[in-house]
């Protein structure tokens, strides 16, 4: 077995998962200026819904995922509509704490609604490996990588080329100016929260086959996605995606070649040290605060 290419392909697979979750965090951050700590637990909730429909109702996987999209969009809309947009007076910290509170709500709700038994989700493509030299990667792994790359690519195209994308970018750069220019910023943030929910759910469905679906199964994804944003910088949409892949690769190789137990922890420390030297992330710029 190839000891470089094999783990590298594996890393691309987890990187895609982290990238989707990170995209959800960054799109909320850019449009609502809220650090979306509940991204992982909302994704968990969506993915658990998928597992529930698949396991308990016996629906085909793709129908279950569609149902999951529905749940995620509903959650995203709900959170923005019922809570975030009513927080005009709350500070940025207040909003962040709300997302922290939401983690607990989703975590408590999931077992009540979907039951306490851990559930399994199968791969999209049940079996089969593709051999590249001495390395092998499952077809499902390739599909996951493809989904990650495709979603990111489509999202960038939408952001750069379409009217909706322009509205999002305008809201991201200056919310109040965008509103004055007639951009429906409320719809933009609503869309952003729903999209974040769907991305989180997708990330959950992609990682689920290698773990079991429990209320905490997205914790690592959430932490990694947050770090991807820190590493890539909060100023661009593509920075966190790059950060996500770097983190996945680093984590896999550290686990393989340095310490299988402490690999992730080592990487966390390395990111903190990295912050010392490049506080704004890889793609970040410094910004001047208006007084």
């Amino acid at each position: 077995m190839d000891m470089i290419l094999q783990p590298f392909m594996r890393s691309l697979e987890t990187g895609s998962v982290y990238a989707l979750a990170a995209l959800g965090i960054i799109i909320v951050w850019r449009t609502s200026l809220v650090m979306h700590f509940a991204q992982g637990s909302m994704g968990m909730f969506g993915a658990t819904a998928v597992a529930f429909v698949f396991n308990r109702a016996g629906a085909p996987l793709w129908i279950s995922v569609l149902a999951g999209v529905g749940v995620a969009v509903f959650l995203g809309f709900g959170v923005d509509f019922a809570i975030i947009r009513r927080l005009k007076r709350a500070t940025a910290v207040g909003k962040e704490i709300i997302t922290l509170g939401l983690i607990m709500v989703f975590l408590g709700l999931a077992p009540i609604i979907f039951g306490t038994d851990p559930m399994l989700l199968p791969r999209f493509i049940k079996s089969g490996d593709l051999n590249i030299g001495s390395a092998a990667i499952s077809y499902n792994g390739i599909l996951n990588i493809a989904i990650g790359v495709a979603v990111a690519a489509v999202l960038f195209l939408v952001l750069q080329k379409t009217k909706i994308g322009l509205a999002i970018r305008a809201t991201a750069s200056n919310e109040s100016t965008a509103r004055l220019m007639g951009i429906p910023t409320r719809s933009v943030t609503l869309f952003a929260w729903a999209l974040a929910g769907v991305l989180g759910m997708l990330a959950g469905v992609m990682i689920a086959p290698s773990v079991t679906v429990t209320p905490t199964f997205m914790n690592t994804v959430q932490v990694s996605a947050l770090f991807a944003c820190v590493l890539g910088g909060f100023q661009t949409f593509y920075g966190p995606v790059i950060g996500a892949y770097i983190i996945a690769v680093a984590s896999n190789f550290l686990k393989l070649y340095v310490s299988s137990v402490w690999g992730d922890q080592l990487m966390y420390v390395m990111i903190l040290v990295f912050l010392l030297f490049r506080p704004n992330g890889l793609i970040g710029r410094t910004y001047m605060q208006k007084v």
Binding site: M35, F37, I83, R86, L87, R89, A90, T91, A92, V93, G94, E96, I97, I98, L100, G101, L102, I103, M104, V105, F106, L107, G108, L109, A110, P111, I112, T116, P215, N219, V223, L226, F227, V230, F234, V261, W262, D264, Q265, Y268, V269, I271, L272, V273, L275, L276, P279, N280, V291
Partner: protein, 348 residues
Amino acid sequence: MNPTLKNIQAGAILKNAHVQFIIFGVILCFLPAIAASGAMKSSTLSTLAFVLIYSIVSIGLNLLLGYSGLVSLGTAGFMGLGAYLAAYFVENLNLSFWLAILAALVVPTIIGVGVGIVSLRVRSIYLAIATLCISEILLKTFEQLEWFTNGTAGKQSHFPVIFGVQTDRAGMFIVIVVALVLIMMLTHNVVHGQLGRALHAMRSSEVAAQAMGVNILKYKLVAFALATMYAGLAGALYLFFLKSSYPSTWNLFLSLNVIAMVVVGGLRSIFGTIAGCFIIVAIPELVLKKLPVIGDINGLPYIFSGVLIVVVIMFFPQGLKGLADLIVVAFRRKGKKQTADELVKSAD
């Protein structure tokens, strides 16, 4: 001395914050006796002890959140570190209770300051992410570093010997009360002196505070260091009261719960924070669990804390403290300039 003058003096003494803290502590010290008499369940005493332990942590986090507007997600990790250090010092190294407490105060603080220096230079929000990561690292350490923590099997300890006296459960309860009262007094002093004014200035406007010579990074670090130190102390007290510590205790949800305690209690209020702790710790334990049907649901305390966070920030941004202020204002409308409206305004 005529009686009215005496009354006035008594009133003035009661208004002294330190006197209030001591009276509060003295009242609490009767609780073990009440429990021993059978008027209160023994398990209730434990729950109340945890309320007091978490009060120490929350008062610390309240300094951080209330004055610097920063969130720490590492509270549980630092508490756990305090607990394991205390256990290691007393059980493995056979050192005294005091050295154990000292270690639980110092080591987490040093780690905290290091993390703070790295993360606070950029944007405030990085502290939350950096502490989240430290918390993950510490949790892994608790699980894996068996010579230190005894791993997932859990670390066992005993009631400590303090000043040559072997404590028991009631004794430890009183130790916790004393520690809490001391923390309340110190915190009160800190926020009412020059340091407190600097913290207030920073909270009100970082720009203006800097113009007055307040080094923002330094004071954010100070607030974070105090929060970490209190967490370490509370962790040690937790260990000596429960006589054991398991890695699974020190997870993210404990950190989130502490945030809920601070938010519910109200920012920058010492008694408010303690009330917040009571609500978050004791209500699920003493009330929710006993409810029919829904009491059996496992995730209920989580939902309770989470919903409280959301509701309080949305509708009562000043928490219990704000609620208490509103009631006081409603009761004495004697030409006081501060109206309910202003109180709400100053909440943002």
